[in-house]
């Protein structure tokens, strides 16, 4: 679900400029699965899919899979269009050391939103 966050062909080079001093690892959880994302100088270098035995990461974003699916629609519905909107609905939890996330909030929002399809598919 989140494997395609790995940078290919510098398609997110503009986004990386917004986080050019950021080196971190964070976990995305869909409850049933986990994705460990490694970022170096604002570039996603690696995404590992769980299960993990002893994962090491700085912070973790947890939401049920169906909520991530709603977030990743071409045009998400109100309340699913932003990670803070999901936080507000209490369907997403932020955990750990949130400094890398909050100091690069727009970067992380746009990074996750970059997985949305450019055009609408039949979403039903």
């Amino acid at each position: 679900m989140f494997k395609s966050l790995i940078e290919k062909n510098e398609k997110r080079s503009q986004l990386s400029i917004m986080a050019q001093y950021l080196n971190t690892s964070f976990m995305i959880s869909t409850i049933e699965n986990e994705y460990l994302v490694n970022i170096e100088k604002g570039v996603v270098k690696n995404v590992e899919e769980g299960p993990f035995v002893m994962p090491s990461y700085v912070f973790k974003l947890t939401a049920p899979k169906n909520e991530w699916i709603k977030f990743l629609q071409h045009i998400p519905e109100p309340g699913s269009h932003d990670i803070i909107a999901m936080l507000r609905r209490k369907v997403l939890k932020f955990e750990g050391d949130l400094h890398p996330l909050m100091s690069h909030l727009l970067y992380f929002k746009l990074l996750l939103a970059s997985l949305r399809p450019a055009e609408s598919k039949n979403e039903n």
Binding site: I75, P76, P78, G79, H81, D82, I83, I84, A85, L87, R88, R89, L98, H99, M102, S103, H104, L105, L106, Y107, K109
Partner: protein, 279 residues
């Protein structure tokens, strides 16, 4: 080269607010019924740039937008210190009333968004006879904190970056990217701790509770409009407010928390009929 001039003029003036001198900047355009517009927390009057350029509105209304003290081109007071700013309900009311009295506006319409959408409720409770009408954009009677606002002002996080990131998410994915960017940019230009200081009013001091029942719509007509993508003041919360006051709310499609700035074209479709009723 010929430039495309806008009909807006800007001015500075000294206003006494609660006994203290403040240098305030405001912009205005049009003539007729005074329409004072209040910007959101942590931003400034540029949010109303489309209204100040809307020919239809300017024929009947004198649109006036001031930057709150500490915001935009308005100054902080003398002896100000970084980190001390906290917007209280009383100070917010005082600055609005000082501005209106200073410009000798008679029975203006006041329209506010977000914190402005909250303060118009306080105006309706305290001074219903002073206004021709009140318009609340993204109004809610109270807001329980849903994220830790200390992130908005700490020295190890760039305030402009984090405030912009917060504001960006409050807009609709369907709003034009250029208007969304400009709206976010205003947040990125705010002073340290100002957005957070405004939220003291929005999330704590300005919560209304049962006082809302004191609003009498027959004394001063109130109009409430809320964008469907707003998760700060949700349409459901505005609806509950409207039900208590006994009025209909208008839910705006395809906009979020900053209708007048993030998608002016869409917003004006909803605002024009309201202003027609008022005029």
């Amino acid at each position: 080269m010929k430039i495309e001039k806008e009909p807006i003029s800007g001015q500075y003036g000294k206003f006494k607010i609660d006994g203290i001198d403040f240098r305030i900047y405001w912009e205005e355009a049009g003539q007729g019924i005074p329409l004072v517009c209040l910007h959101t927390a942590g931003s400034d009057g540029r949010q109303y740039r489309a209204l100040l350029n809307d020919k239809k509105i300017l024929k009947k209304f004198r649109v006036i937008v001031f930057d709150m003290p500490w915001h935009g081109k308005s100054s902080p007071p003398e002896n100000a210190k970084v980190g001390n700013y906290k917007l209280s309900t009383d100070f917010y009311i005082s600055q609005i009333m000082s501005f209106i009295n200073g410009l000798e506006l008679v029975k203006p319409v006041v329209m506010g968004c977000s914190i402005g959408g909250r303060i118009i409720l306080h105006l309706a409770i305290n001074f219903p006879d002073k206004f021709r009408a009140l318009i609340g954009l993204q109004s809610a009677g109270h807001l329980d904190p849903y994220y830790d606002i200390s992130w908005l002002h700490r020295q190890d996080v760039h305030g402009g970056e984090v405030c912009g990131g917060i504001a960006y998410g409050l807009m609709a994915p369907t709003s034009p990217e250029s208007d969304k960017f400009e709206t976010m940019w205003h947040y990125m230009q705010g002073g340290p701790g100002i957005f957070k200081g405004d939220l003291f009013f929005y999330k704590f001091d300005g919560n209304i509770g049962n006082e809302i029942k004191k609003i009498d719509n027959s004394k001063c007509p109130i109009y409430l409009l809320t964008g469907e993508y707003d998760y700060s003041a949700t349409p459901e919360e505005t609806k509950s407010l409207a039900d208590t006051i006994g009025i209909e709310m208008i839910k705006m499609k395809n906009v979020g928390h900053f209708p007048m700035s993030e998608n002016p074209k869409e917003f004006l479709k909803y605002l024009h009929p309201v202003l027609n009723k008022i005029s």
